[in-house]
């Protein structure tokens, strides 16, 4: 039997190589996609760290700075000024945050390194100016808030093109807007390329202010989302995406395995008919088929798992263990399912094709 399995495997060597290539490509694609989602998770955490659960984002049209200023006055909100690019939080963190509604969808997050800075990160800078901040460089930014302030920081970690870790500034003002319940970021809706700091408007206010702001007809089409809700839905979206991707990856993997099994059975039809004639039971043919495929399939899965665990750069198991585990579990179930199907089909095969062989003569 070993000889027969050996001959089967050598017959299908090309197919196994193809399967291995497919699984590796899929691994990297999935990991790349999942890796791209990591900054979102960090931003999500950052929101919490910064105590910005109540931040509210509003999208308006270009050139509405004055309008917003007017509304702020009318509704009791505090206009933070145009060119608002960030603020200090109570505990001295700098947070530069564009919150355009489709921001997360539009920007292509790409992970450069997830190395946690040795000093420990003290702030997260989120900027749409992709690649603007470089690792190790020191920058000085002016923060226009209620009181103008400037911050000097060194980038100690790059999370993505749009998200970096910085050191806390030595002369950090204690707080600019610490006691406020709600922060409003009004972002002029423009395409990414034209998106500049000048189009960011900031305002301060509470719930009442927000509801009043929403009543103004001029910004009727303005979108309003609570940062907290946005975060929560974002988080759901992330885990949803993770699961979808995990399922997709598992399904692709299973599809690869299943089609390999089916092709291999199609290829060996005649062989099993011959073996049946020469005294193999159908069960034995099916067992040969199963062993032919199960060995390379398990190898492929083992390699897939090893890559997942060993490539720390891409390691999703650490950040989203649940969804990764769900994906793997599903992959395993589909794998078992496809092998059982292949086994049952192979069991039927020798007899069918033996009859076909005979019919072909007539």
């Amino acid at each position: 039997m070993r000889r027969l399995i050996k001959s089967n495997i050598s017959d299908r060597f090309g197919a196994y190589a193809g399967l291995a290539v497919m699984l590796s490509i899929m691994f990297f694609v999935t990991q790349y996609l999942l890796g791209g989602l990591l900054p979102l998770r960090h931003i999500d955490l950052a929101y919490r760290r910064m105590g910005l659960e109540n931040a509210v984002s509003v999208t308006a049209e270009a050139g509405q700075g004055d309008l917003i200023k007017k509304y702020c006055q009318k509704t009791g909100g505090k206009y933070l000024g145009a060119s608002f690019i960030g603020k200090y939080t109570a505990d001295g963190f700098a947070f530069i945050q564009p919150v355009e509604r489709d921001y997360f969808d539009n920007l292509n997050y790409r992970i450069k390194t997830r190395k946690s800075p040795e000093t420990g990160y003290s702030a997260v800078v989120v900027s749409s100016l992709g690649g603007y901040y470089e690792l190790g460089q020191t920058y000085s930014e002016t923060l226009t808030g209620r009181e103008a302030a400037s911050i000097e920081f060194t980038v100690v970690g790059v999370l993505s093109d749009d998200c970096v870790y910085i050191t806390p500034a030595a002369d950090t003002p204690s707080s600019v807007v610490s006691e406020q319940e709600n922060y409003i970021f009004i972002i002029v809706d423009e395409s990414d390329e034209n998106f500049s700091r000048r189009n960011l408007y900031g305002a301060l206010g509470n719930d009442e202010f927000i509801s009043r702001l929403n009543n103004f007809e001029d910004i009727q089409h303005a979108e309003r989302t609570s940062g907290f809700e946005e975060n929560r839905s974002l988080r759901l979206e992330i885990s949803g995406l993770m699961i979808v991707l995990a399922i997709t990856s598992a399904a692709l993997c299973a599809a690869g395995i299943m089609s390999n099994s089916l092709l291999s059975m199609a290829q060996f039809r005649r062989k099993y008919a011959i073996l049946f004639t020469l005294g193999a039971t159908r069960l034995k043919c099916a067992a040969i088929q199963l062993l032919t495929d199960v060995i390379p399939h398990l190898c492929a899965i083992a390699v897939y798992l090893m890559l997942t665990i060993l490539l720390k750069e891409f390691n999703i198991l650490k950040t989203t263990p649940e969804s990764a585990m769900i994906g793997l579990l599903e992959m395993f179930l589909i794998f078992v399912f496809s092998e059982v199907l292949a086994f049952l089909a192979a069991k039927q095969m020798p007899k069918i094709s033996a009859e076909e062989e005979e019919n072909a003569h007539t």
Partner: protein, 222 residues
């Protein structure tokens, strides 16, 4: 050696495409006999050979092979009989591609559970007997039709079964090779093998001790 009693084989019974392939075949084949089965296309020769080869247990009537009632055996026991007691030569050689001649000859041993320490010696002896000793390491695809049929016969003999069944063993061969293969089969019969050959070729049938003609699922004469 074997007795068939009133064998009826119906394909797709009770369906619209029902075919009555065998309609009551009685046949007795004695030890050491060499028998040709002839008949028009579609008359049921292959069906009969199928049953003789224990590939099909789904028939009416009785088939006693070496004292065993085939219909009462399990699939596993049937497989054992196919493996050990019957050597079968298929029409299109039925060899396994991408395998050497030696491996092809040894396949019945690879299927079985037990091992034969003398296997390579036996394979070499059979190859020599059939005149393919220089091809043992060659891949099947590099052989001529006549050589392939010799490999198929060697494979049928590797477990030294008493009964050899051959479905159109000369069907795909030229006249010269056809004659040689017939001589090989006749020679095997002289050594004591019981041989059943399904054939269209009167020359092959002429070398046989007896000829059975099948027409429309019935034996016409022996």
């Amino acid at each position: 050696m074997l007795i068939l009693k009133n064998i009826v084989k119906i394909y797709n019974a009770q369906k619209t495409n029902e075919v009555r392939a065998l309609r009551g075949v009685d046949l007795e084949i004695k030890d050491g006999e060499i028998l040709a089965i002839m008949g028009a296309s579609g008359s049921g020769k292959s069906t009969l050979l199928h049953i003789l080869g224990c590939l099909d247990r789904d028939f009416e009537g009785e088939y006693i092979l070496n004292g065993k009632n085939i219909k009462q055996l399990s699939q596993k026991e049937l497989a054992m009989i196919r493996n050990n007691e019957i050597g079968i030569v298929l029409q299109n050689f039925g060899l396994i591609e991408n395998m050497s001649v030696a491996d092809n000859i040894a396949v019945p041993w690879y299927i079985g559970r037990e091992k034969d320490k003398e296997l390579s010696k036996k394979t070499a002896e059979l190859a020599e007997k059939l005149g393919i000793e220089d091809k043992l390491k060659t891949d099947i695809s590099e052989l001529s039709g006549g050589q392939k049929q010799r490999v198929a016969i060697a494979r049928a003999l590797i477990k030294t079964p008493k009964l050899i069944l051959a479905d159109e063993p000369t069907g795909a061969l030229d006249k010269e090779n056809s004659g040689q293969i017939t001589e090989i089969l006749a020679g095997l019969n002289a050594e004591g093998y019981t041989i059943v050959i399904v054939t269209h070729d009167p020359e092959v049938a002429g070398r046989c001790q007896s000829v059975v003609r099948i027409s429309d699922g019935r034996v016409e004469g022996k």
